[in-house]
């Protein structure tokens, strides 16, 4: 019974923890502009994140090595240093976007300007990273994140033409008023939002924080294979809500209030409250994960003691680097830059950086020196290779598409 509860908890946490500000904004933007025409990208992204999250967790559990330690060992100090610069920069953008997302949600709930909420949000993120146990922070934000189901409920309340939605998803076409360039630009953005690199840093470091053994790997496989796809359904529900409500009215999404508009329309005040709790939990959880990831990547590259299993005083450089990251995030947001725009850019740059994280993981998952006889099986390697091609294509295409489309304008 206890084991069953553990499985249920793990799955629920994975569902609630799947969506972050990047998924929220990108799915909503895409739904409002392209309907369900890019749903296939979400599906590809989910299969990819399942494969690689599971792979990185397994590598960490078997070899005891987290992702960035492996990156440095395999690429050497120089190439790994360049990788660190790029990965850290993109992670910093994501931290900034998530903290901005918390602040925007609090603005929607309180009508006090988000600028006032930024230091509050960053302070609470730091406080949790500083004082709260790993398992608790993961579970609480994951479970509260389940409130995002409000998007799915709203979709049913809106009573859309399901055949029409399915038709858009199964026969994707570029709408008449959009160019194929913007269509592919948003395909890359959605892919980046689903497969953000920090999830891999967080997953593999978390496996070491929680001292995973082979039994935990089996549990994680269930969490990932059941939880992530269900979380991905939430992403699709967000896009579908936008497709049903915003697209016919020609509303393009440029703020969080437009993201939640369909839920407010369908579910009224209650729906709005529930969805705001969900967004708050999702962005707060992701802010924790990205802040920790910034500390993980730096500490693993430079060989500092890291992890929430230690007291802060036992991992001083790790904690100082996370405080510094949050302060930089606050400084960026304090310039008045639009957090939604930071989010949109961060998912595209995530797509650019994907190979930097995923290639070393795939290599080490096949290295018997690290993995013994637990190296990747043929199926996972086949899947990993297909995704290598997709990831490289998305990474190469991202910047040119961004230039051609003027960042999707």
């Amino acid at each position: 019974m206890k084991r069953l509860l553990g499985v249920a908890l793990g799955i629920l946490t994975a569902i609630g923890g799947f969506v972050d500000i990047g998924d929220l904004v990108t799915n909503s933007v895409v739904g409002a502009r392209f309907g369900m025409g890019l749903a296939w990208v979400v599906v590809i992204g989910i299969i990819g994140i399942c494969a690689f999250a599971h792979m990185s967790g397994r590598v960490a559990a078997v070899s005891g090595r987290a992702t960035f330690e492996i990156i440095r060992e395999r690429l050497g100090a120089r190439a790994a240093g360049a990788n660190l610069l790029a990965s850290f920069f993109i992670n910093l953008m994501t931290v900034t976007a998530e903290v901005g997302g918390i602040a925007l949600t609090l603005q929607l709930a309180s009508s006090i300007t988000y600028l006032a909420w930024i230091p509050v949000a960053a302070f609470f993120v730091w406080l949790v990273v500083w004082r709260v146990k790993f398992k608790i922070l993961e579970n609480v934000t994951g479970l509260l994140g389940l409130c995002l189901v409000a998007f799915a409920v709203a979709l049913f309340q809106l009573g859309p033409n399901w055949l029409d939605l399915a038709g858009q998803a199964l026969n994707p076409t570029v709408p008449g008023n959009e160019s194929p360039w913007t269509y592919w630009y948003y395909a890359v953005a959605l892919f980046g939002a689903a497969m953000t690199p920090y999830e891999v840093f967080f997953f593999s470091s978390g496996a070491i924080e929680e001292k995973w053994g082979p039994k935990d790997v089996a549990q994680s496989r269930i969490n990932v294979l059941v939880g992530f796809p269900l979380g991905g359904l939430l992403s699709l529900a967000i896009a579908a809500c936008a497709a049903v409500v915003l697209m016919p009215q020609g509303i393009t999404v440029s703020s969080l209030s437009q993201v939640v508009l369909p839920v407010a329309e369908a579910g009224g005040k209650i729906g709005l409250i529930v969805v705001l709790v969900g967004i708050l939990a999702a962005t707060f959880g992701a802010a924790l994960e990205t802040t920790l990831s910034s500390g993980y990547t730096l500490a693993q590259y430079f060989g500092w003691t890291w992890g929430k299993r230690h007291r802060p005083a036992e991992a001083a450089r790790f904690h100082v680097s996370m405080i510094a990251t949050l302060l930089v995030g606050i400084a960026i947001l304090a310039t008045g830059v639009d957090p939604v725009m930071v989010t949109e850019l961060s998912v595209v740059f995530s797509a650019v950086a994907l190979p930097l994280t995923y290639v070393p993981i795939l290599v080490v998952a096949n290295d018997p020196q690290y993995m013994g006889d637990a190296v990747n099986g043929r199926f996972l390697n086949g899947l990993g290779t297909i995704y290598l091609v997709i990831i490289l294509a998305a990474a190469i295409a991202a910047i040119p598409l961004m230039v051609i489309t003027g960042a999707g304008a």
Binding site: A77, G81, R131, G303, T305, R311, P312, A316, V320, Y370
Partner: protein
């Protein structure tokens, strides 16, 4: 392989593949550092070794400032190098395990400084997470 065509006794390690950039852990399993560079016993004047000269030995693992010079070239002054003697290494696996504890090793002075001057002064810094 040595000059007699026999494989040397014991484990063969590739310095770049198995030592450089590996994590170093102490007896408690605490991360000490990453191997940023290696020091080998070579004649100081930089002349090439002749055939009957003594084989160079791995003497120290280097940490800290040597990372910058390894990336960008040059050499830090010897007194600035942070060393762990090779004789302190107990085992080489996917990590290098030391024979002693990390506490007090000069490599960790930044860690200690930040702990004493920043982290320990913030409330809760010395407590376990709850």
């Amino acid at each position: 392989m040595n000059e007699n065509g026999k494989a040397p006794a014991g484990k063969v390690l590739d310095a770049i593949l198995h030592l450089l950039d590996r994590q170093i852990k102490d007896t408690e399993g605490l991360v000490v550092s990453v191997v940023d560079d290696l020091e080998i016993s070579l004649p100081d004047d930089g002349r090439t070794l002749d055939a009957d000269a003594e084989a160079p030995m791995l003497t120290n693992l280097l940490m800290g400032p040597t990372l910058a010079t390894r990336l960008f070239g040059g050499q830090p002054p010897p007194e600035r190098m942070m060393r762990i003697p090779w004789s302190d290494v107990a085992r080489v696996g996917t990590v290098l395990e030391l024979r002693n504890r990390a506490e007090g090793l000069p490599v960790r002075w930044v860690e200690h400084w930040l702990r004493d001057h920043v982290i320990a002064r913030i409330p809760g810094g010395r407590h376990d997470p709850e």
